[in-house]
């Protein structure tokens, strides 16, 4: 999975996207915050949602406890 590397750690792009979700945000807002292409943000957020690191509600993504724990573990 692109959001988590083979070592079990967040990839750099996933880390940036997850950090951008300190407050709930749309993919467009995450793309603007991270300066990543929107298509890549959409794919990355979808993979992180499938991994349980974030959740989607009414078009807005928010980090889950699991996601926040993974992000803070490497801070």
């Amino acid at each position: 999975m692109a959001c988590v590397g083979s070592n079990g750690e967040l990839t750099e792009s996933a880390r940036r996207m997850l950090a951008a979700l300190e407050n709930p945000a749309t993919p467009e807002q995450v793309a603007a915050h991270t300066e990543l292409p929107l298509f890549r943000v959409r794919g990355g957020l979808r993979e992180m949602a499938e991994a349980g690191l974030i959740e989607l509600s009414a078009g807005v993504y928010a980090s889950t406890q699991q996601g926040r724990a993974l992000l803070s573990a490497k801070r």
């Binding site: 959001c3 993919p27 890549r40 959409r42 794919g43």
Partner: protein, 228 residues
């Protein structure tokens, strides 16, 4: 276009699902897919809101393809300014793509900034008609699909295995399509930005009379140009 934020595994995004058997047609929705790429899994509708240039090449580690990738990388910033993303494809593995991209960086000093689909099972190549059996049954030809922000196929270009593409023409094509959308006009042969455009020909006698009084540069009632 389906909701690009959908998180469930929607079978409509797989090339093997019940897609129409016909090849892409201009003015019709581009066939949906979900693909493994060098930038992770990507769905076509992840590009919703962007123009997309989806292009295929015959194989990694081949000379003409290498020149093309260097050329596509060179125009990537210009395309980005036009809200256009690039997406490559060939019937090679992700590992091969990654090795080739790294080789291009090492040997030519060029970063390849766009994702490349690893279409090992030929699903997307088949869906888009990228394989020309008369040329090769195992490689994709040099196809280009221009897909607009609403997921509609707006242009297609096919080049044979032997002939590298002209990326300046791809930029010119994008400029022409975007000018058409913005101003509701057509563009003449060899048009370039800044040149006059074609006013669509009138369909009724009433329109003809109005056209001739509208102040356009008209050679005849059906042939009028204007600046945009």
């Amino acid at each position: 276009m389906p909701n690009p934020e959908a998180t469930s595994q929607d079978p409509s995004h797989t090339a093997a699902s019940a897609q129409p058997a016909s090849l892409p047609r201009l003015g019709m929705p581009a066939p949906l897919f979900e693909a493994v790429t060098t930038h992770g899994k990507i769905r076509l509708d992840d590009f919703h809101g962007n123009w997309l240039v989806l292009f295929s090449h015959p194989a990694d580690f081949t000379p003409v393809c290498t020149t093309e990738f260097i050329a596509f990388a060179a125009i990537a910033p210009e395309l980005r300014q036009r809200n256009v993303e690039l997406l490559g494809l060939s019937i090679d593995s992700p590992t091969s793509h990654i090795a080739w991209v790294r080789n291009i960086k090492e040997k030519f000093g060029i970063d390849i900034p766009f994702p490349i689909i690893a279409d090992l099972n030929k699903e997307i190549a088949t869906l888009y008609g990228m394989i020309m059996p008369g040329e090769s049954k195992t490689e994709t030809s040099r196809c280009v699909f221009v897909i607009d922000p609403n997921g509609i196929v707006r242009a297609m270009i096919y080049y044979p295995l032997t002939t590298g593409r002209n990326t300046a023409e791809i930029i010119r094509l994008i400029d022409a399509l975007q000018t058409t959308d913005k101003h509701h006009v057509a563009t003449p042969a060899n048009w370039k930005p800044g040149e006059k455009v074609i006013v669509p020909p009138p369909a009724t006698m009433e329109e003809v009379d109005a056209r001739l009084k509208a102040g356009f540069e008209c050679t005849d009632w059906y042939f009028c140009k204007k600046a945009v």
